[in-house]
Amino acid sequence: MKNTSAVAVRKGVLTAIILIFLQLINMTAALGAMLEKMITSAKSVKSVSPLFYGVIVALVAFFIAFSFIRSLYRPGKPKPTPLYCLGESLVIGLVSGVLIAALNALISTLNANGVKIRTYLDMMAPDAIKTAAFGREIPVMIGIYLALTIAGALLGGLIAWIIKSTGQPANAWAALQRAIAENHTIRFIRRNKIVRILVIIAILIFVFALPFILSPYGISILGLVLIYAVLGLGLNLIVGLSGQLVFGFVAFYAIGAYTFALLTAPKPLGLEFSFPIAFLVALAISGLSGVIVGLPIMNLRGDYLAIVTLGFAEIIRSLVNSNLLADFTGGPQGIKDIGQPRQPGFIESLIGKPMPENIYFLYVIMIFFAVTLYIVYRLQYSRVGRSWEAMREDETVAQACGVATSYYKVLAVIIGAVIAGAAGALYASRNTYIGPGDFVFMVSVNSLAVIVVGGMGSIPGALIGAFIIKGVPELLRDLENYRMVVFGVLLIAMMIIRPEGLLPIRRKKIYAEPDKDLEILKKELKP
């Protein structure tokens, strides 16, 4: 017991360190403001109210105490008593409260004595110091901090104890899944064909109405997310399914985009092809680049493709960025006035006026996404998909089974490249402007992140991943400077909680019945 108390003190210090860190980068206030905005639905919050500032402080203590008490429940160890849990939580709250209050007492005193804190601590402007002190005198402030951390920690410990001791599954996700599986309505929907079709139709109607519901900002974000989802689907096919690593996926994306742009823009080539023709050529050229990259590595084992694509991406980027080739590629200035698909006449006759450009284009992207989804889905569950999977799991055996591994390796690269090229062409057409800056290494990293976060080899995962990598940072815009910090923390947390990605690939799971198997095993083991 003594041991764990020492741990509780350490957890208290940890809580204080987190609180101090958050305060010093002024993130407590930013998080508080975000919370305030959500709850009071105010348009903008200039300075956070003490209430929400305090809630954030208490929340930190809450989570630390919660996870600490939860961790006390380990198989083989005696269950802690509720009093003990509360005691430990109290220690956490007390220690962290004293430390954070001490820091703020110090800062406030120095500030009152005319020391310019800001010269040492960048974010600690007089206003921020006042906010952190809840606008009160030092003794009152110390009391508030102690009350907050202790209340937060006690509540965290209490809830952890309740969850653990009432035998509720601690894993809310698992509980949710079980609830869904056992829910009669959902089961009914799953079983009943007509209902299922109706549900699908309802979803389709919703999806089709989406571009009209969303704000222009939402439309632009959704378009970008879907383009990244297409990109993710293509990369998924190479990395997730065929098991070859690709570091420079942006190369194919760039080739698709540039081919399309050069064919449709008035400058520098002045070809001005129509959308469908330019799009098809873009697909062909990016497929061809897939062949060029794929052929040299087809007989090699190991992660050569990763290096080859990385180099290829750099070559492409330097080419389009070069001043020498500016007459052909637009150079560093990029290409503008890229062509857009023309709206078919029936839309105008149907709704009386042409659809707004951005809404129409979102539909175009949605259709391409759906088509890619269909193609990838069919591929994954075909003979080709099977051989990719076999190759990924064990190349030697795949070969021994008669899979022509070299052929299937290149095939994966080509199809992936074509899909990336399609995404690139769409991106170019949607933006009507592209430049070398759109095709930096970060795009490759992001597309890898899409499939890692979503789940390697998983098709719905690519969509979720794209939403998280491209959509969530936009939703987090309120956090301004802390956006990327929070995003990074979210990603790390996600990889810890669900290391296989959010929607990992599902295999048919019809395990043998353990009881029956055991009987057979027992029989066989009898001499």
Partner: protein, 249 residues
């Protein structure tokens, strides 16, 4: 000649792993290829199945020169290798693993029959057919690997150390099954460390030493050969009768 290797040479960069070996397999035979670690047994099988590039020499199978052909072409002709070391697809279920073995087959009914045959030979696989291959025990994985080879409906099967790491009872079972497979019409080229067992079931055998064939003869002759006994069967004159002990290289 059903299957013949002539003067096969294989180099791995500077290493001359196979130094002009020749061997034959007649239709319906079990032929054992024995030798110490690094003798070149796996290299021989890998060059037959096209996994390893051959420097010189020729391989003929069913009156056709298959030297340098791609693996899938060779598998298509019914020459199937079961690689060394329990290679299976760990995330695929047992059944999917077996289906992969029939990758080049199109006849659904035939695949179904082959599957039944594998399940007859390895009842355990039937119980576990919906379990991921990676969750099987080591011995079960070896059975699965052999079963997957059988799904290719082989005419000539190349088995690379099927008894590796198995308990004595399971070793006996595996060899019984090999004999079973052979009696159903599949010729077998068997690479083994367990010379005792391999030579006991083989019609003929070859002894490989550092890339060269040093001895050949019928299984029984080799079992009783003093040099083989000394080198591979522990030198004990009545080792063949005791049925246990240090038969391993």
């Amino acid at each position: 000649m059903y299957f013949q290797i002539q003067d096969l040479n294989v180099y791995y960069r500077a290493i001359h792993a196979l130094q002009g070996i020749s061997l034959t397999v007649n239709k319906g035979e079990i032929v054992a290829l024995i030798g110490g670690n690094g003798a070149g047994k796996s290299s021989t099988l890998n060059s037959i199945s096209g996994v390893v590039d051959i420097t010189s020499g020729s391989i003929t199978y069913q009156d056709e020169n298959i030297t340098g052909r791609a693996t899938d072409q060779i598998v298509r002709k019914g020459l199937v290798q079961v690689p060394e070391g329990r290679h299976i697809f760990p995330k695929m279920t047992v059944q999917e693993n077996l289906e992969m073995g029939a990758f080049l087959k199109n006849d659904k009914a035939q695949i179904q029959r082959d599957m039944e045959r594998v399940f007859d030979l390895f009842p355990r696989m039937k119980e576990r057919r919906n379990q991921p291959g990676g969750t099987l025990s080591g011995g079960e994985q070896q059975m699965l690997a052999i079963g997957r080879g059988l799904m290719g409906d082989p005419d000539l099967m190349l088995l690379d150390e099927p008894s590796m790491g198995l308990s004595p009872i399971l070793v006996e079972q595996i060899f019984d099954i090999i004999v079973d497979i052979n009696s159903q019409g599949t010729s077998i080229l068997l690479v083994e460390q367990n010379a005792q067992m391999a030579l006991a079931v083989a019609d003929r055998g070859y002894v490989l030493e550092t890339g060269e064939i040093v001895l050949t003869g019928s299984g029984l002759d080799l079992l009783n050969d003093p040099k083989v006994r000394a080198a591979y069967l522990g030198g004990d004159s009545d080792a063949s009768e005791s049925g246990s002990g240090a038969y391993y290289f």
